[in-house]
């Protein structure tokens, strides 16, 4: 099964159309290999994005440089996946 070591989920707040454009630029870029968990085109609703570990620094740099507010809502994705897997195996047992 695919592993997500070091990957994190960011919550990015968008307050206006300009910020939505910047965020779309980031998300649509092939360089960062982002995976959108929750999208939004409504101001005030955040966007949740899975950021691969290799892209963490450049994405953080981009967000800061563009003035986009964000927080890390899942710091260790693989840990959550491992726990889920462990619970399933326990249940099967």
């Amino acid at each position: 099964r695919e592993k997500f070591f070091g990957d994190q989920v960011f919550r990015i707040n968008v307050r206006n159309g300009d910020e939505i454009s910047k965020l779309n630029q980031l998300v649509n870029s092939d360089n960062f290999k982002l995976n959108v968990w929750k999208s939004s085109s409504t101001f005030g609703l955040p966007v949740d994005v899975l950021v691969p570990s290799v892209s963490l620094q450049p994405v953080k740099f981009f967000l800061k440089s563009q003035g986009l507010e964000y927080s890390v809502i899942i710091e260790d994705l693989q840990a959550l996946l491992d726990k889920e897997d462990e619970e399933m195996q326990h249940n099967e047992g």
Partner: protein, 311 residues
Amino acid sequence: QERSSNNFNYGAYHSLEAIYREMDSIAGDFPDLVSRVKIGHSFENRSMYVLKFSSGKGSRRPAIWLNAGIHSREWVSQATAIWTARKIVSDYGKDPAITSILEKMDIFLLPVANPDGYVYTHTQNRLWRKTRSLNPGSPCIGVDPNRNWNAGFAAKGASDNPCSEVYHGPHANSEVEVKSVVDFIQEHGNFKCFIDLHSYSQLLMYPYGYTNKKASDADELDEVARRAAEALASLSGTQYHVGSIFTTVYQASGSSIDWAYDNGIKYAFTFELRDTGHYGFLLPSNQIIPTAEETWLGLKTIMEHVQDHLY
């Protein structure tokens, strides 16, 4: 292997095979009320099963469709659906509300609307969303099955890029998983309600997603949805936002409930279940039953309204 008869742990996530066995077990336990019906197959040739709940009085009875698991990584959706199946049979004959609903209407429950995707989340990639169909000429696999319905198909709110998570596919109903449901519902011809279960975000939405045009029944749907959200919140305080897809989240074309509504199924709703982002798609299994229990209150509110407002 999991044994049948009360040994299925509803507070855990299960493989496709285990869910299908439990569906068969429920049908076996209550043969006068429930049958497991094959409605088609997936791209990779897995069976697509629904449970049909029917007290059987009368023919071409008005019906409710409960859809779950269309996006395969939203595991609490499939888990809530199988819990709901057991809840319906357990409460029939005891709870006046569901007993009354089933006296008048049939319920069809599809717990795994995207079997290939669901298996893929168990075996390869837990975060897979789409179907597993091949896209000729592209290395990318799958179509977003909730952008593939014939409602504003390929309009803004979906992508024409096969590598996109919201790729709409080459044409409406290109996905056999979607076509199976469409064909079944159209052939039946008497569905009054279509509810789609997703996660996450804690939202209860109604049409439209593909346009900002207000649905002609939007006021009524909004009122029903608000009552359903209140009922849901009454159990544990879980708060839901209510509104049309377009105004609540974003423009989304080709969605299931838009298709249902445009094809005469007035009571069309979509739930985005727990949570609001703390765990997202990886909702811990100890939240399955609380989620299912509160969602049941919302579903019952909607189904009762449908029963009282048949058209």
